[in-house]
Symmetry: C3
Subunit: 157 residues, 3 copies
């Protein structure tokens, strides 16, 4: 069967996991916007305190750091450090034709732990819990990348 | 026809849009370099104020924030929050075999609004205009990811 | 031969280079963790100075910038500005069916210069050396993206 067909269960599994992760990261942008509007603060560009229809009463304090906005930015930064590499490593991994069961555990396990990591970060749980929820996802990326590397190297020689 | 052939108009459309966006982001690095050289400032690592052939008269003020350099860094950060997810979502989207016309509107529409967003950010237009130009691109990513997710889920069941 | 088969030497070359780069970026997260533990500092979220099993003696200074930790974060930020676009541009490039020799020079050349850039940044060499080691990789991304763009445009007309 065509490797990149969505009728291929391996590839469909990957596309489901990857699409959910894309929506998660893009959601962070919208959550940042939502919190900036609610807080009326957390802006970053000097021109953002010009008087406009969306900012009728500008104030220099709007440019100061705002913890509620910055929390979402830190979550998004963590996403940027992880999710693009999940997208690429997961793609290579499914091209190595692994077992469907293992692929589902790894790909959906990644999605699950990323959503739990988000919940823990958003609600300001301890660093210990956040680290515990970040670790499996990072190990899944490493496993998929190392597996793909060795399969590709195996055909090399 | 081979899905990933550049002779496939859907895939060629995607590669054109994606390549332009890659060049756009990488261009931000070069624009940062250009502005750092012009301003002789905006450096970030402590070792960047060592005396070298390219920095013959180092000065601790070179490490202070420089708005002209930081503006490009903010633009690039916005790219990092968006473009990698456009690249992935657009790839999945064309694999779902959408209509060529719709794909062209979405993919080239994304490219167009990102270049307009860049122009508005570079020239320090209002937050309102910048937000207006950011929004369609973000919605296009969301649409393509949701569409791919549902197509993949449809084959799942 | 199937373009995305790991038995295809072009695609295998790409997967090897891409997997190494994914492991490199993810390694920066682990190096950040390692340095945060060693320095017992460089944390960023307010809740990170709660008393926990992993942080038995919390202290507000743990939230202050720590140069040894921030150096790794700067290196990772540089990765985020480059490697996702290498992954995408390299993928498009191998789909254009370039010569295997040229592809190996570009893809492995990228990997080599990124590791040298990392070594120079980690050991705080001069900005001049770091820039010299960053430049070839950026030019390789630009070359691969421009090449893919023109091949796709060629089939367009």
């Amino acid at each position: 069967m065509n490797q990149l067909s969505l009728q291929n269960p391996l590839f469909a599994t990957y596309v489901i996991a990857a699409s959910l992760m894309i929506l998660k990261v893009v959601g962070m942008s919208w959550l940042t916007v939502y919190r900036m509007v609610r807080e009326n603060a957390g802006f970053r560009a000097p021109e953002d305190i010009k008087k406009t229809p969306l900012n009728p009463n500008p104030n220099p304090t709007q440019l100061q750091p705002n913890e509620r906005v910055d929390r979402i930015r830190r979550i998004q930064q963590n996403d940027l450090e992880n999710i693009p590499f999940f997208l690429a490593a997961g793609f290579f991994y499914v091209l190595t034709e692994p077992s469907l069961l293992v692929a589902r555990v790894l790909l959906f396990g990644y999605v699950l732990t990323r959503f739990l990591h988000f919940a823990a970060y958003l609600s300001a749980r301890t660093h210990d819990l956040r680290a515990t929820l970040w670790t499996p996802g990072s190990l899944i990326i490493i496993y998929m990348a190392v597996h793909s590397l060795f399969v590709a190297l195996g055909f090399w020689t």
